[in-house]
């Protein structure tokens, strides 16, 4: 069992991922924008973070950059939720951007449940 933080501006999406992870007996906390996410990371010290890339205000890339440059948080693994904008092309972009900002992993929305659970397990391992 691990404590996992979800940061996404879409409450329905947060709810569905929360439900999934709770079914795997994880403790789940949520934040609905970048700044609140950063705050939660610092106050709750989660074991892993699931971070949406496209959010109004501070987006996922900015949040991730900030986390990775903070020695207190940089070791917490981050899984980026990317949304492929156009056909195959952006998958490569998402990956490149994801790698550039040192996220541990990235996955396209919508996320297939088993896949998400696997990725989270890998992050925690």
């Amino acid at each position: 069992m691990a404590k996992i933080l979800i940061v996404d501006d879409d409450p329905d999406l947060v709810e569905s991922i929360e439900r999934l992870l709770k079914s795997k007996k994880h403790e789940v906390i949520a934040a609905y924008d970048g700044d609140a996410g950063l705050e939660k990371v610092r106050s709750e010290k989660p074991d892993a973070i699931i971070l949406d890339v496209m959010m109004p205000g501070k987006d996922g890339y900015a949040v991730c950059k900030e986390l990775k440059s903070d020695p207190d948080c940089s070791s917490i693994p981050v899984l980026l939720l990317t949304a492929v904008v156009s056909h195959i092309p952006t998958t490569a972009y998402s990956m490149r951007d994801g790698m550039e900002i040192e996220a541990e992993d990235y996955i396209d929305k919508p996320v297939e449940p088993d896949e998400l659970v696997n990725r989270v397990e890998e992050l925690l391992a």
């Binding site: 879409d10 329905d12 999406l13 439900r19 999934l20 496209m54 156009s86 092309p89 919508p110 449940p113």
Partner: protein, 373 residues
């Protein structure tokens, strides 16, 4: 507006300057090409009056250099009457106009004024183009976020229902939810295609072109379609030669082309069917054919399948999800690569779609080969 006069003859420099200043234009002068280029590099000049016959760097060289490095600067060349061929060559190299020595004040004024008018038009066109691109970008952002987010959210919640995370569901309910899911991913696919269509129509490709290895591109495309193929027990074979000539292409654009073609070959195929992708060299071109032994296309539909949103509606295709955008996207990408596309089909037997692309120049293709593995 600032005009630079580059001429080795003092009398021309001063004469021109005198005329131009009287018209209210600002001027600067240089007596050779080197000095002229240095002044242009400061970015303060919009128009260059350039003598072609100078000692040191020739006017023609200055012209080529300016056209390449400062495309916004308009160049008017000054030539002697005896060397009118030079003027013609200069125009070929991107000079906007020429004026022959000796010239009258009026001639100079007219030529310069015309050049400025043309520059204004050019800038206006560029601004409009940029605005259009921006609007398209805004639209793309809007669509991708405002439309995709709720769709993602719906799909995510469906996943949970299907997984039984909100309680057991009956097999009937399961079937219905799966159908909903199918339609939703069709919708997502359509949005992706729509965005690609607008992207490839507004953005010129030239920026992203690089030599690419076709076998690799096709492999990427095949992998994208593999899940759908497996579901229908369809075998896809990438028989593109590893030695197929490299082409100069927007990599992601080409993957999109073949992903769409292979996807069609799978979607409009029967269970247990096959899809073969092969290459062939044809003079200065490479041809890639995606061949299937599926349902085929009736002759009277052949012409229309590249139209946006056109889909054939028969009993065999009714259950296939799609938006009719795939082939129109394919066509505009191929057009952006100076290529062509042809379809041959026998209803009930199968379809061959052949894409023809110009080969990249030799040394580039060598580089792509070594990157191929």
């Amino acid at each position: 507006m600032c005009i630079l006069v580059v001429d080795d003859e003092k009398i021309i420099r001063e004469g021109a300057e005198c005329i131009l200043v009287k018209e209210g234009w600002q001027t600067g002068t240089a007596e050779n090409g080197r000095e002229g280029l240095n002044l242009i590099a400061t970015g303060s000049y919009q128009l260059l009056l350039l003598d072609l016959m100078m000692p040191g760097i020739s006017g023609m060289e200055v012209l080529k250099n300016v056209r390449q490095s400062y495309p916004d600067v308009i160049v008017i060349v000054i030539t002697g009457y005896a060397t009118i061929e030079n003027a013609v060559e200069a125009m070929k190299n991107g000079a906007y106009d020429f004026i022959a020595k000796p010239f009258t004040p009026d001639q100079l004024r007219i030529v310069v004024r015309r050049a400025f008018e043309k520059r204004d038009l050019m800038l206006e066109t560029e601004a409009l183009r940029r605005e259009r691109r921006q609007r398209m970008q805004d639209f793309v952002n809007l669509v991708s976020h405002e439309l995709r987010s709720p769709l993602n959210s719906i799909q995510q919640q469906l996943f949970n229902l299907l997984k039984g995370l909100a309680g057991e569901i009956t097999s009937d309910q399961h079937m219905i939810l799966e159908r909903v899911q199918g339609r939703l991913s069709g919708l997502t696919g359509m949005i992706k295609n729509l965005l690609d269509v607008s992207r490839f129509e507004t953005e010129p490709f030239l920026q992203n072109k690089e030599p690419v290895c076709l076998k690799e591109i096709v492999q990427e495309a095949v992998e994208i379609c593999q899940d759908d193929a497996r579901e229908k027990n369809i075998t896809i074979m990438n028989k593109v030669s590893a030695k197929a000539a490299a082409v100069e292409a927007d990599r992601q654009g080409l993957v999109s082309v073949f992903a769409n073609l292979v996807s069609n070959a799978v979607k409009y195929n029967r269970a247990g069917g096959t899809v073969h992708v092969r290459s062939r060299s044809r003079g200065a071109h490479v041809e890639i054919t995606v061949a299937d032994n599926g349902i085929g296309i009736a002759p009277d539909h052949l012409e229309r399948i590249f139209d946006r949103f056109f889909r054939i509606r028969t009993d065999e295709t009714r259950h296939v999800i799609g938006s009719g955008l795939g082939l129109s996207l394919v066509k505009s990408i191929i057009k952006g690569h100076n290529g062509g596309i042809a379809v041959e089909s026998v209803p009930g037997t199968g379809t061959d779609v052949t894409v023809r692309l110009p080969k990249s120049i030799q040394q580039l293709s060598l580089r792509a080969y070594s990157n191929c593995h």
